[in-house]
């Protein structure tokens, strides 16, 4: 697998003009020795989709244009500041506007040039780029559904029914500076989303709670995931590799810890991966029908709790009130499990975990966790974190409640 050059900290292949600009910028950062800056990424990371390549090209052209405009305008200003100063005895002129044809030409030509730059040099390529970028529907080979939620991504492949959650895998101790930071600090996940190279992937986006933004810089794609609505975009990855990005819209506490990691692989490898994922899902579904022992549920529940719940309710269950209530000793958690007839009780522990609470960060986990995971984590919360209800709920009971 090819590592992404950007993260190997080599300098991306930037166009010559971009390098020129970079040099100009290092001039502005004149306080620092230029050599110390040599390894920095000065421009967009290496593009791997047609859109990203197009965007980089447009960006580089624009930077040259505005660089020239800036230099030209301020060269005139600096010339004036040197020549037309009192200390060299320059007598002030009295004009208040253009006088004579020549001056009018001088005054109007810059605007004609600007008009041309705005709507022709910049405007026409921009038009084509926009149309191309929004063309999600023609010749799409497959669909990937992305759902943003606080603070993880769910990926779904509608054709094969594969669905999973992807959360950041950087240990909290690295963030708290108790441990050395790894190479992909904050940009690594437990489940990478896998896509085939050379295929046009139509990406549908939505969210369950607040607005998130799915962004992978090397794809040139950034699109908001809006709760209750579908948004779309597309990618056609040209090179196998691992591509990393992040949520780009402030989405609450752990907005900074919601990475996107895409592994692009050749088609056969992708097909094999899908088959493997399908197998895992079938296995998990089968688990819902067997009867689990309490110890099995508690062990599984602990894993689920730490991956899904601990970020808000904290590993010790003490929460961070008032935004994130404590589970230890909570009235809801220590309340009755189900009604005597085995029905869901409103605002009970099971109801809260399955359906969430509107207007808060507590989401409806029935959408993202399977029956086993739900049964396990509910059982865990009732019998750990300082609670000892002694009861348990079976995956089959959760299945019946859906």
């Amino acid at each position: 697998m090819k590592t992404n050059p950007r993260f190997a900290r080599t300098r991306p292949r930037t166009a010559a003009p971009a390098r020129l600009l970079a040099t100009a910028a290092s001039g502005l950062l004149a306080l620092l020795p230029a050599s110390a800056l040599a390894d920095y990424t000065w421009n967009f990371p290496t593009p791997v989709t047609p859109i990203a390549r197009d965007t980089l090209k447009i960006h580089n052209e624009f930077m040259i244009i505005i660089g020239i405009l800036f230099a030209a305008v301020f060269a005139i200003m600096i010339y004036s500041m040197i020549k037309h100063r009192k200390s060299v005895g320059h007598a002030p002129a009295k004009f208040t506007g253009p006088t004579g044809t020549l001056q009018w030409i001088w005054a109007l030509v810059p605007f004609a040039i600007l008009l041309f730059i705005d709507f022709v040099i910049m405007g026409i390529p921009a038009y084509h780029a926009v149309v191309d970028m929004e063309d999600t529907k023609t010749k799409a080979d497959m669909v990937l559904k992305v759902t943003g939620m606080q603070w993880k991504w769910q990926y779904e492949y509608p054709e094969s029914g594969v669905r999973f959650i992807s959360t950041m895998s950087t240990p909290r101790d690295q963030i708290a500076n108790k441990e050395a930071k790894g190479e992909h600090y904050l940009l690594e996940v437990d489940n990478e989303v896998v896509l085939p190279v050379g295929k046009k992937v139509r990406i549908l986006l939505t969210a369950t709670d607040v607005i998130h933004t799915w962004w992978v810089p090397q794809f040139g794609v950034k699109r908001d995931a809006v709760p209750g609505f579908l948004r779309e975009t597309w990618v056609k990855i040209e090179e196998p590799g691992i591509y990393r990005g992040q949520c780009a819209e402030l989405c609450g506490k752990d907005h900074g810890f919601m990475p996107v990691v895409v592994r692009a692989v050749p088609e056969p490898e992708y097909a094999a991966w899908i088959e493997k994922k399908k197998g895992e899902l079938a296995e998990a579904a089968a688990g819902a029908d067997k009867t689990w022992s309490k110890d099995e549920l508690l062990a599984k529940g602990k894993d689920v709790y730490e991956a899904q719940c601990a970020v808000c309710h904290q590993p010790d269950g003490k929460g961070m009130p008032p935004a994130f209530p404590a589970l230890a000793g909570s009235k809801i958690v220590t309340g009755p499990l189900l009604s005597p007839e085995g029905k869901l009780l409103k605002d009970s522990h099971v109801d809260r975990v399955l359906n969430g609470k509107e207007g808060t960060a507590m989401q409806a986990f029935k959408n993202t966790l399977n029956d086993v995971e739900l049964a396990a984590v509910i059982t865990y919360e009732r019998n750990a974190l300082g609670n000892s209800k002694g009861d348990l709920i079976q995956p089959a009971q959760i299945k019946a409640l859906r």
């Binding site: 000065w42 967009f44 921009a126 950034k222």
Partner: protein, 536 residues
């Protein structure tokens, strides 16, 4: 800027006001109120600055050192709200209060009591905005608004009591702004000196006039949006909730219908001020007066029809994307007129480089970077990469610090001699200028590059490849922040000019000053232009 400098006895003037704090609570004098606005802005500038310095220190290195993400999210949003609503806008209103009557030959603002109310609404609003920080220390609530200044729903629907405090604070600030705007409009329309036609109005007054109209047009939309947010939060409405038939993006439309003109609301008074300063220190009349006035009007009109470029990534239909892209690009034309006129004002003048002139020229160069990067941000395809990244953070700080704050500093240094009666300490002023401009670029230039490299904004911690740029940026920010103490000291020194032995300012404190305020003594009497000047 203090009792001593505006003391009534020096000029045999008919001031009759209560002494002590009552004077300031009850004053209806435009100079007193202007002074209060400016001091309030200065204090809040340091409050907002301290917040962001804490943020920058946290971002010095990867990892969480100083604060948790919750507090980080509160600080970035409140920093923006404080700087925009409690520092930049009051500073501009302070200028309007002091200068519009002096420059148009009016005895005072037209609505003096409303003027007083407009100011005294500000301190409670600022208190509301920042109080949740303090309440959280006592275990009440979970701190201030943590959604960024944009208050995007549904995140703001989910937030704690800080959001409610922010909503009420915005309501009060909005009322204050509208009162101030009405006052400016009524004053300019009715109290101009005889013979001063609208096309003889000082450019500064024109800039403010357009600002005032923009405020009246857009603040009610913001007030409506945050009220809808309030009812979504507490009274079961679903304006921004898809499950109830609402739409989260509706909030963004409403917010930016206000938010984009807001940028020009902050900048127009300063675009009005810059030509005066350039003309004064070039000893040459303002170039292209009419062109500048028409550009102000054009920018004002364009500003209310381009709002959606703030959320190109939200998934707008192609025709909307194209429309907002091309309309946004067209703002570059009137803006280019202004740049042309500014440079042409200096061209073939007889320039000298006192502190206000340095700030004005620094403003032009750095605001030029903001304008040019704004032009490329308008491009929808490229914007997909820039948006929500540090590139945007750098861009709008070039607009609002280099354009906004440095514009305010230009005005303060330019008019301090008029207000206090003493010339400023040039050495200190120049030191302040150079420290500011160097550390400003050190802070924000790296942010362009870290944004291009892929760093999203509003994150409390970042991946390792962004570390060096962030470290440079933090060092720059600390120098920038502490340099501003020089600004405060310089103002203090000028206000106490007698004690520090500064030279007394003549009426025409700057030899090239041509507008009406320079016809009055420095400082002007408590009541000036009781007999209006006649303009030929």
């Amino acid at each position: 800027m203090s009792h001593a400098t505006t003391a009534p006895h020096e000029s045999h003037d008919h001031a009759h006001y209560p002494g002590g704090i009552l004077r300031w609570l009850t004053t209806t004098n435009h100079k007193d109120i202007g002074t209060m606005y400016l001091l309030f802005a200065l204090i809040m500038f340091f409050v907002g600055g301290a917040m962001i310095l804490a943020v920058r220190v946290e971002l010095f290195q990867p990892g969480l050192q100083l604060m948790q993400p919750e507090l980080f999210n509160q600080l970035i949003g409140v920093h923006a709200l404080v700087m925009i609503f409690a520092a930049l806008m009051p500073a501009a209103t302070g200028f309007a209060n002091w200068q519009i009557p002096l420059m148009i030959g009016a005895p005072d603002m037209a609505l003096p009591r409303i003027n007083n109310l407009g100011f005294w609404l500000l301190p409670p609003a600022a208190l509301l905005l920042t109080l949740p920080f303090v309440l959280a220390l006592f275990g009440v609530g979970d701190g201030a608004v943590a959604t960024g200044w944009t208050l995007y729903a549904p995140l703001s629907v989910q937030g704690g009591l800080g959001v409610d405090f922010a909503i009420f604070s915005i309501h009060i600030l909005g009322i204050s702004s509208i009162l101030g705007s009405i006052n400016v409009i009524v004053t300019i329309f009715n109290l101009r000196a005889p013979g001063m036609t609208m096309m003889k109005l000082p450019v500064f007054a024109w800039g403010w006039l357009i600002t005032a109209f923009l405020l009246i047009a857009t603040i009610p939309v913001l007030a409506g949006a945050v009220t809808m947010l309030l009812t979504d939060r507490h009274f079961g409405t679903h304006f921004f909730n898809a499950a109830g038939g609402g739409d989260p993006i509706l909030f963004q439309h409403l917010f930016w219908f206000f938010g984009h003109p807001e940028v020009y609301i902050l900048l127009l008074p300063l675009w009005g001020l810059i030509p005066h300063v350039l003309a004064t220190f070039s000893r040459k009349p303002i170039y292209g007066y009419r062109a500048q006035v028409y550009s102000f009007i054009a920018i004002g009109l364009l500003s209310v029809i381009v709002w959606a470029h703030h959320f190109f990534t939200a998934g707008l239909p192609v025709p909307a994307l194209l429309y907002f892209m091309y309309s946004t690009m067209s703002i570059s034309l009137p803006l280019a007129v202004l740049f042309f006129c500014w440079i042409a004002t200096m061209w073939k003048g007889s320039m000298s480089f006192e502190t206000p002139m340095l700030f004005a020229q620094g403003f032009i160069v750095l605001f030029g970077i903001a304008g040019l990067t704004g032009l490329v941000l308008a491009d929808v395809a490229a914007d997909a990469q820039y948006h929500h990244s540090y590139f945007v953070v750098a861009h709008f700080h070039y607009a609002l610090f280099a354009g906004g704050i440095m514009g305010v500093m230009t005005g303060v240094y330019y008019w301090l001699p008029k207000w206090t009666g003493y010339m400023i300490d040039e050495k200190l002023g120049k030191l302040h200028f150079w420290l500011t401009i160097i550390s400003f670029n050190l802070t924000f230039m790296p942010q362009f590059f870290v944004g291009l490299a892929g760093m999203p904004r509003r994150i409390p911690d970042y991946a390792l490849q962004f570390a060096e740029f962030n470290a440079i940026s933090t060092v720059g920010a600390l120098i920038l922040g502490f340099s501003q103490l020089l600004f405060a000291y310089n103002i203090w020194k000028c206000a106490k000019g007698a004690e520090y032995g500064l030279p007394k300012a003549e009426g025409r404190a700057w030899e090239g000053g041509e507008s009406l305020e320079w016809e009055l003594p420095s400082p002007p009497p408590h009541h000036s232009w009781e007999t209006p000047p006649v303009i030929k």
